[in-house]
Point group: none
Chain length 237, copies 2
Amino acid sequence: MAETGALPLHMQISELLIRDIAAGRLVDGERLPPEREMAARHGISIGTLRKALAALQAQGMLERVQGSGNYIRSGPDPGRGSGAVYAFLRLELAEGGGLPTARVLSVDRLPKDPALPEFGSDPQGHRIRRLRFLSGTVAAVEEIWLDGAQTPVLKASDLSESLYHFYSTRLGLRIARAEDRVGQGPLPDWAPSAFPYPPGTALPMITRVSHSHDGAAVEASWTWFDPQHVRYTVRLR
Amino acid sequence: MAETGALPLHMQISELLIRDIAAGRLVDGERLPPEREMAARHGISIGTLRKALAALQAQGMLERVQGSGNYIRSGPDPGRGSGAVYAFLRLELAEGGGLPTARVLSVDRLPKDPALPEFGSDPQGHRIRRLRFLSGTVAAVEEIWLDGAQTPVLKASDLSESLYHFYSTRLGLRIARAEDRVGQGPLPDWAPSAFPYPPGTALPMITRVSHSHDGAAVEASWTWFDPQHVRYTVRLR
DNA sequence: CCGGCAAATTGATACTCTATTGATTTACGA
DNA sequence: TCGTAAATCAATAGAGTATCAATTTGCCGG
């Protein structure tokens, strides 16, 4: 097992386990063998193994339960394609599908807009304004508010196409569930001219509240979409 | 090959029961054997079995009645008394919830409207036009088309508040899944004057295709709802 | 039909023992 | 100084066993 001159042992073990998870050999909810056994199998001390496991825990891939064992928590699969990354996106082109991309228009830390539904404990939030595209077609205008308590600073250059992916990998914040209410509302006047309607136009409007896995509401957003080209799509069963 | 450890017994039993429910081997309302018997059968202690049952209870899949027994509760969210009947209804009052009722405006057997999405094999369909209420508030206008092959005759007096319930009990037709696309569209001119918008108003509009449990699309519909008082609500997880 | 009672069943608690991770310390080698 | 090994003890979870409380259901008699 030990390779001289390579990574420290604990990193090698971490990497091994991460690869097993990414490859699907270790799946969400599975329990690892007891530490004593694992250490013996890899020919290393328990302390070293524990250092490796702690690194996985820090990445949210492992839940360690004192007295019970170590459980895989591979939640949003980090190795997967864009499917899981956009698990909560419900906008599609009218003819179906559409590859999502987004252009950030502004990011500001501000007092929360009182018109927003309740979320988070901080009176301030990070306001992100974006233009959403589906396969290059202008699709929607978004105003997203992340609770200020989640991070002191948020910069446009930090953000990735999928905000939820960014939250997960950079802030250690996993969105576990969300609630959407679709109605109608006037397009705001900050909407960019690339969006094909004048401000004030009554458009379909989504109000969303998103919750982390401990149940707390951490994000709220408004989205106005183009009803000529876009549909909010739901598959019910 | 990644090695895994065994899950604790109580988790194994939970998983077994969950799988039995998902596979239909345990159905809604069914009573489990007495705990003493179950524990003996699985070769575990009552305490351990009870821990497994408590987990199912926490997930809303089991109702435990002291002095009586443990009952499967695998239906839709138990919080909604007649929830099963309205499992596919996604309209709620803006402030949440709302008891759904409907008034049938007309029922006709007609050639299918070519603007409809494709469904069913019969060139004719039953067209049902309704006014939807939520807790007495006028909520939406619906035009529903059931494929003509599902029944030769459909009369307004036959229909119940929940069409899907009617389909199931009277036509032996179970709607297993549906697809909704929410956009915007002009209120049709047949809309009743009780609906608080003039015909032609751009309103949120749902286009739905419903499938029976053998996969066939058997019903299509359009719904226009009042964005002042009503929201199309989705809980995502 | 109602009330009482017995039997059956789950709810709750306590105790014991084993397995497992959490935490800390010391020592050694590169 | 960092990585690693090894040891020890603390704390928690899991599992088994036992006992009693509380509730439900069914049966029987008045």
